[in-house]
């Protein structure tokens, strides 16, 4: 077990990267403390898997260092790093039984057969695989196979970190829930560092203590689920997390105040940028937009009733604004006006938050 530190990691799949776009990972500095559960969240192609493979040593980064505790493992091969990794699609050794599959990582490391047996039985018990231990792995269903993959990740006791690369993609929705809570439970039981890669925010938010949000090869924010919701550091985090995501609206600075389409907007940001700055936006979550006769007028385009609340799509000038209102709330039919809750309105410059 160890603390994992990534220092100035950059990676490109091209032999001679030149432009910024040539890099799959732009610049990563991160620290993964021992024993925590992390989720690595981001859209497809943002570099999540690349980052994971750099930690596991399947890839050597173009630049930067990987440290396990204080020792530099950048050039250490995967087998010597003591890590476990579970992949998106189940990997099972077809010709072996479930038992042999689970025992494989232990036997390859020359662990005594008696010890192998107890470990495999423990892991099989955790994953409810006890009854199929003697079956051929090839005959199992997709989720059975993925359980074996998970099991092979969990079977070794001395691993520094267990990494999951979108492990529940091939699993049926109802089993997804079960396995996810199982993983969470296992994390609490074992206290092992876990990194869970996903593009599904629900998965990330339910599994992890800390969510690392990635976007276009950089880490844009690391935080608890609550922090990501209430205080997105980047507009991407704002609209990627939450359903629907944050409203990001263009605005200008004039006379030392923020104006959105001619209306003065009060925000939680205190270090206001100078008048006439470019690329200024306000971000406000749909949850914190409310009908207010004192606010500015909007035209209501659409109301979606989701059963537990309603999502209202409103327009002011050419800007679309989404708002979430209570299920039983009356939606004004004439001259609706809205306002933003100042404490939850954030100001962004070049997509990054201004505090």
């Amino acid at each position: 077990m160890a603390k994992i530190t990534l220092e100035n990691i950059r990676h490109s799949y091209l032999p001679e990267p030149k432009k910024k776009e040539d890099y799959a990972l732009q610049q990563i500095d991160a620290e993964w403390s021992d024993g925590s559960a992390y989720a690595l969240l981001g859209p497809s192609g943002c570099g999540k898997t690349t980052l994971l493979n750099i930690i596991s040593g399947l890839l050597t980064p173009s630049e930067g260092r990987v440290l396990f505790d204080e020792s530099d493992v950048t050039d250490t091969p995967t087998t010597e790093r003591q890590i476990a990794q579970v992949f998106q699609f189940p990997v099972v050794y077809d010709t072996m039984t479930v038992f042999d599959n689970l025992a494989f990582p232990l036997r390859n490391r020359g662990i005594a057969e008696g010890k192998v047996k107890t470990r495999v039985n423990e892991v099989a018990k955790m994953l409810d695989l006890e009854n199929s231990l003697n079956k051929r792995a090839a005959g199992l269903t997709a989720d059975g196979k993925q359980k074996i993959s998970l099991g092979r990740g969990l079977v070794r006791e001395d691993v520094n970190v267990i990494m999951f690369d979108e492990p529940l993609t091939v699993i049926d929705p109802h089993l997804k829930w079960l396995l996810r809570s199982k993983l969470k439970e296992l994390h609490q039981q074992l206290g092992r560092t876990m990194i869970y890669v996903t593009h599904d925010q629900t998965e990330a938010l339910t599994f992890a203590d800390h969510v690392v949000v990635m976007y276009e090869g950089t880490v844009v924010q690391v935080g608890t689920p609550i922090e990501l919701f209430e205080h997105p550091a980047h507009t991407f985090v704002g609209h990627f997390i939450g359903s629907p995501g944050m409203n990001i609206l263009p605005c200008e600075m004039s006379d030392g105040v923020v104006h959105f389409a001619g209306n003065q907007v009060r925000t939680a940001s205190t270090n206001l940028p100078s008048n006439g700055s470019d690329n200024i936006e306000v971000g406000i979550r749909p949850e914190f937009v409310e009908f207010d006769d004192e606010g500015f007028p909007v035209e209501i385009i659409k109301v979606d009733d989701l059963g537990r609340h309603q999502i209202v799509l409103a327009r002011h000038d050419s800007n679309m604004i989404k708002m979430i209102v209570a299920e039983d709330a009356q939606i004004p039919s004439e001259n609706p006006c809205i306002s933003f809750s100042p404490a939850q309105t954030r100001l962004y410059k070049d997509s990054w938050v201004i505090d």
Partner: protein, 287 residues
């Protein structure tokens, strides 16, 4: 609900029926016809029952060519399959060399059988052939037209040269279909190179290898043109394989009855062996 019936549909099947009848059924039935009768020409036939079958099955000549055939097919399978896998494993997985390797591998497959035979015949001639001269130059007495061992070695070498590529291409296709995640997982699990081959690559290649073995078995069991052009079945009868022997009986001696019986027996042996092999290979899959 009643099904709609349309008897006119049969008309659409007729071309296929005619085609199959003319290229397979009628010739085969002619062979069956010859195998149970004796003829002295003029389309006069006498019923002989299973006499020809008994004769062929009890003939030491048939036994000898059958054993030669088994030995030949067994030897080339034992060489070509492992060699093909080994070559496929050492081929690059990506980069500009992939297409170069694939074209080089495909070349022998594009050469017609009789050309292969003629090529190797001249190549291996002890007096003027490059290979024959070289071997003799090394001080080894080599003459495939006179020495049975040399004739066998040359025939096998020729077949390996001609057909290993097929096994290589099939194995390579099988290898390329293995997702990267398997190799990555093997690294994480600390598997040795041998374990990767034995536990991942070979099992994943099982289906293509089954096809490769079946194709090579059938092809080599029915081999005719190449050894016929290379050695003509000699020296003596030492490289007279089943099909060469069959042609000698049918067209050389014009013994149509025994030849017909022999081709049917030959046909059933190939069919039986393929069926047994395929069933054995696929038995595991169904479990």
């Amino acid at each position: 609900m009643s099904k709609t019936t349309n008897q006119k549909a049969w008309i659409l099947v007729v071309p296929v029926v005619v085609l199959v009848a003319f290229n397979a059924l009628i010739p085969l039935m002619t062979v069956v016809n010859y195998s149970v009768q004796e003829t002295f020409g003029n389309n006069v036939f006498f019923w002989e029952g299973v006499k020809w079958f008994e004769e062929v099955l009890n003939s030491s000549r048939f036994h000898a060519s059958f054993m030669r055939q088994l030995a030949f097919t067994g030897t080339i399978l034992l060489i070509e399959i492992p060699l093909g896998i080994a070559v496929a494993l050492s081929m690059p997985k990506k980069g500009p060399w992939v297409s170069v390797c694939l074209v080089l591998m495909a070349l022998p497959l594009l050469i017609p059988w009789n050309v292969v035979g003629a090529m190797w015949n001249i190549f291996a001639l002890p007096d003027i052939g490059l290979l024959g001269r070289m071997i003799n130059g090394l001080g080894i007495n080599y003459n495939f037209t006179q020495q049975p061992a040399a004739a066998w070695a040359t025939t096998i070498l020729m077949d390996v040269w001609h057909w290993t590529s097929l096994v290589v291409l099939l194995s390579y296709a099988g290898l390329c279909a293995i997702p990267d995640a398997y190799y990555q997982a093997a690294k994480i699990d600390g598997a040795s190179a041998w374990a990767v081959f034995w536990r991942i690559q070979l099992p994943k290649m099982k289906r293509v290898l089954t096809i490769a073995i079946l194709l090579r078995f059938m092809d080599s069991f029915m081999i005719y043109t190449e050894p016929f052009v290379l050695t003509g079945g000699g020296p003596g009868n030492t490289t007279t394989f089943l099909s060469i022997d069959l042609v000698k009986i049918a067209l050389g001696q014009f013994d149509l009855g025994p030849a017909a019986a022999m081709s049917l027996i030959y046909f059933f042996i190939v069919l039986l062996m393929c069926w047994v092999f395929y069933t054995l290979m696929m038995r595991d899959e169904e479990q």
